[in-house]
Amino acid sequence: MLTIKNLEACIEDKAILKGIHLNIKPGEVHAIMGPNGSGKSTLANILAGREEYQITAGSMHYQNVDLAPLTPDERAHLGLFLSFQYPVEIPGVSNLYLLKSALNAKRKHMGLEEIDAIDFLTVVREKMKLLHMDDSYLYRDVNSGFSGGEKKRNEILQLLLLEPSLCILDETDSGLDIDALRIVAEGINLMRNEKRSILLITHYQRLLDYIKPDVVHILSDGKIVAEGDYQLATVLEAEGYEPFLQKKAGD
């Protein structure tokens, strides 16, 4: 489904990804863990189509489509969704606009008619209920003046509404208190099915207690240095990144 081969990327001549290999099959949940600056967010942003990064080698295919030439919106239409580490504040654009136009852009791409206002409100309110969000979220400007936790919840609301087939969650757990983390994780777990793939990017094991990954990858200095099942995250939590980084140095 998602196949990344020997991906190398840089920003302003600084190499960040140095040969990433990753295979995510339908229905699988993968976690990428790693210290600050290891390239986790870069990978997420490159997958979503951020233009500042330059791909210098390798390839990334999703559903056998080469992602490299596609714009961010074309990737979204293909079913890819990035939950931002730092969701952007957009004053003057209401959340309702964003949600509705995003949903309609997707429907249009699928050859469906645009959803009308009443149906839309019914659908979105259903999803908001799951995330314990009240109606006021709809009428506030996108992420504007939202707390860190509110922003993350708003990302998951978009995820629930757009029902992407590949969800990339970039440090969705950061800035969340325990209660909010549980609500957000429940939202994500609702999305788990045999067709949908999820890529979790996180520093800590905490999120993985709620969303059990099938595969855990450890990223360090732009390369995946270790892979394993959920147990790997437990080892990491106990021993820290240090042993894995040393392992890499000994390669």
């Binding site: 961010p72 990035l82 952007v88 957009i90 206002a117 400007d141």
Partner: protein, 431 residues
Amino acid sequence: MSHDMIDRSLFEACAALPGWNKQLRLEAWQNWQSMATPTIRDEAWKYTNIARLEKMVFTEATSTPSTLTLNDIPLTIPENRFCFINGVFNTALSADLTTDTYLLSKSAWPHIPNEYQTPHSYFERLNAAMLNDGLYLNIKSSTHSPMYLVLLQDKTNGFSQHHLRHRIKVHAGIKSEIVIVDWGLADTTNLTTYIIDIELDEGAELNCIHLKKATTKGYHIRQTHSHLAKNSHFNHFNFDFGAKLSRNEISAHLNGEHAACQLNGLALARAQDHIDNQTQIGHLAPKTNSVEHYRGIIDNQACHVFHGHVLIDTNAPDSIANQQNKNMLLTSTGQAYAEPQLEIYNQNVQCIHGATVGDIDEEALFYLRSRGLSDEIARQLLIFGFARSILETLADKNLQNELAQWIKTHLAIDSELILEPYRENDHEDIK
């Protein structure tokens, strides 16, 4: 020094009109003639060059009878209105004049107090010398619906000129709203000077909404001067859709304790438009309050100038002033000049200001696109969202919607979505 842009014979014709104070006109004419044209070396005209005006020759405005109607402008103009076409009052399109609503040409001139009769600046003098007409509005009772003052500019032979001056007095405790519409319908070169003097008595409240859409050959100089007594409130909204040269000078003198003003503006400059907004707020009494928020959206080779002067006098302790100016440049060839200027002579005050000039936020653009919106729609949402911050400060929902539609048309925004309900109270019908 003399200015040849207006022939003396035209002035003589004005001065001969009955009902006007000929002496005042003559003094204004002579003072204007002897005055040097402002240049970019003058602080107040640093970014706006009017040298090319001097090379033009303007004639009368009324050389062709106008057949314009209010259907020619894309706004709903209610019946409570007074209309001028090419500077001349149009009885057929206007409501009846009353004892409290005079035309200056019908001898209301003495009602302009002496201090206003000594014009100082270049365009004030020109306006006083060549004045076509104007209204004296003596507002003694509160109104629920706004009064519209409309100036239409129709086709003329040659380069035309129009000069208007209104005086608005709102009596103590009275609340009123005025919408001033300046609409250019014919793309012929014209010069308009337009001065509005506003006086608010104790506890009076006035919302003044100014919509200006001149043409690509229009030179439009407007001054709005307000004087606020104790506890009075003045809210001014300045929506400028561009002109060859549009200059808006807006001043608020907070003369009485607890007087408050809000000066908001949105400049939508495109093609070769030049919009110059100059605001001046004087905190001259204790506990006065001013809020100012100006934004500019600049496309193509257009230019927006914002100069915001705030003075807090020694006599104005416990005053609060907040000024914001933001500019969004849509091209690399557009220009924006943001100049906040604060003069504070009392330390016991709160003063906040901020000015920015930037492109469309790339982060926000990427965010919207990652949600499946095309580059075009995402840009349109961001541009409109930027304008909305000013639009939403208008209390009048209907006017807000009409203006939203106009902004969309003006910015060539075709997204259907943008005018859908987007605030909680817009949705009551489908809840």
